[in-house]
């Protein structure tokens, strides 16, 4: 196995251009090391951990910018994230064990593109973008287009994720991330639901609603039809229940050792309803009623 520790992004992407599919990027290594032990070793390992200046969280022009090498634990303990992006904070908080959070990076979570990746549904709902470096230059890839399938993103074999740009949601909005797993945070999510609700001035209607679903389709998805059903409408119980049913119908879960597809769909419905109710209450101080 060839092994490299590039010291710059330029060096890293030129290695990826040279080795193509034969190369594997490693960041924290919590996914890659397990694959190397139990599946196979790549022909070339490109360890990007020694590239300086890729671990940071900063606010700039209405966005939080998060370096790809930022550990999940840094996100969880960042007052800036807690205050400005509580939805992302919640997913970092519910992410595996402390030991894993100290090692795993957000860039690795995104590039792994696991449908159950904890931060993905929240980032999708927050309409984040991936800032990716290729040998020809940089591209801004919206999360709504980034994921192609399990383990597959627009980065392909030659792109390197440099930064995640998260526009700050409106101050009147409130988000909720709910994870369903047998053993709590330690376990991979059976279903993850991220909801962001923005009421209109009167506090009766929803000006904007965004719903992201994890672990119930080949990629994390937005429940667009459920969102549409609520946008501009009065948040009444029957409508919220209806939207939750629509969200469940938009999911296409598989059956595996964690649960059956049917069970997952039930959970999507329940968590979507709960997420909408909790977000609505948090932002308006009122229950979804009648």
């Amino acid at each position: 196995m060839d092994y490299f520790e590039p010291k710059t992004l330029r060096e890293a992407v030129s290695l990826l251009a040279r080795y193509g599919e034969k190369a594997k990027v490693i960041a924290g290594g919590t996914d890659v090391l397990v694959d190397m032990k139990f599946k196979e070793e790549p022909l070339c390992l490109v360890n990007i951990k020694r590239i300086p200046g890729m671990s940071y969280i900063r606010e700039e022009k209405g966005s939080l910018r998060i370096g790809a090498l930022t550990p999940i634990r840094e996100i969880e303990t960042s007052p800036l994230v807690r205050q400005k992006l509580p939805l992302l904070w919640e997913s970092a908080h519910q992410f595996a064990s402390l030991q894993i959070r100290n090692t795993a990076t957000i860039g690795g979570n995104v590039c792994r593109a696991s449908p159950s990746g904890e931060t993905l549904a929240p980032l999708l709902v927050l309409e984040a973008s991936a800032i990716a470096r290729f040998s020809k230059g940089e591209k801004k890839l919206p999360f709504t287009e980034l994921f192609l399938g399990p383990g597959k993103t627009l980065l392909g074999a030659k792109g390197l994720l440099r930064e995640i740009e998260v526009p700050l949601p409106s101050k009147e909005s409130r988000g909720t991330y709910l994870k369903h797993a047998v053993r709590g945070a330690m376990d991979i999510a059976m279903v993850g639901v991220a909801v962001l609700v923005t009421p209109d001035g009167g506090g009766k209607k929803a000006r904007d609603v965004r719903i992201g679903l994890g672990a119930v389709a080949p990629t994390p998805i937005r429940a667009k039809r459920a969102e549409k059903a609520l946008r501009g409408k009065t948040m009444a119980r029957a409508l919220v229940e209806e939207a939750a049913r629509i969200a469940a119908s938009e999911s296409s879960p598989i059956s595996d050792q964690r649960s059956s597809a049917e069970y997952r769909r039930w959970i999507v419905e329940t968590l979507t309803r709960r997420g909408l109710e909790q977000s609505w209450k948090a932002v308006t101080g009122k229950e979804v009623d009648g």
Binding site: Y3, G28, L33, V34, K37, F38, N47, Q99, I100, T103
Partner: protein, 166 residues
């Protein structure tokens, strides 16, 4: 292909030639002989291989040995001072938080890290600190007792009174 790394383990400098795919766990146990670092699941789930990496608890089985170049590592072997056990070790013995003992080094490192962060952990912080450590023997109750005793020990008498006053 192999690479040369230098690192500090429990205050001792080491220099070694390693394969790039080697995990930090295999490096510590097999190359350097720190057998206090236990191997169990080898996939980051159980916490038996927990060490401090620049002060933070990590599962050494899912960290590259190469990433430890230039780092400071602490294993359970590094906690006692001569014959005097670290208060966390002593508390585990005193409360009977050890049965087969296989999980113990990992727990002790996680608890040491917790008590380095705070001398006055809440129940929630205790749970968070050891939720990545699995014990198949004790049922955890005695481990939580041990953590509370160790915390009190480390606070010392002044720590307690200042807390009582505040």
């Amino acid at each position: 292909m192999s690479l040369n790394i230098r690192l500090v383990v429990n205050g001792t400098r080491h220099r070694a030639k390693i394969e790039p795919a080697l995990s930090l766990l295999d490096f510590l146990r097999d190359t350097l002989g720190y057998k206090g670092v236990k191997i169990c699941c080898n996939t980051g789930e159980c916490g038996a291989c927990t060490i401090l990496f620049d002060g933070k608890p990590v599962n050494s089985c899912v960290v590259l040995a190469a990433d430890a170049a230039g780092a400071e590592v602490v294993t359970v072997e590094g906690l006692a001072e001569g014959d005097r056990l670290h208060p966390v070790q002593q508390a585990f013995i005193d409360t009977g938080a050890v049965q087969c003992g296989y999980c113990t080094p990992g727990f002790i490192i996680s608890v040491k890290a917790l008590l380095d962060r705070t001398r006055n952990p809440t129940a929630e912080e205790i749970e968070e600190a050891v939720s990545g450590n699995i014990c198949r023997c004790t049922g955890y109750t005695k481990i939580v007792d041990a953590i509370q005793i160790a915390a009190r020990q480390l606070q010392g008498p002044t720590g307690l009174t200042s807390k009582a006053r505040s």
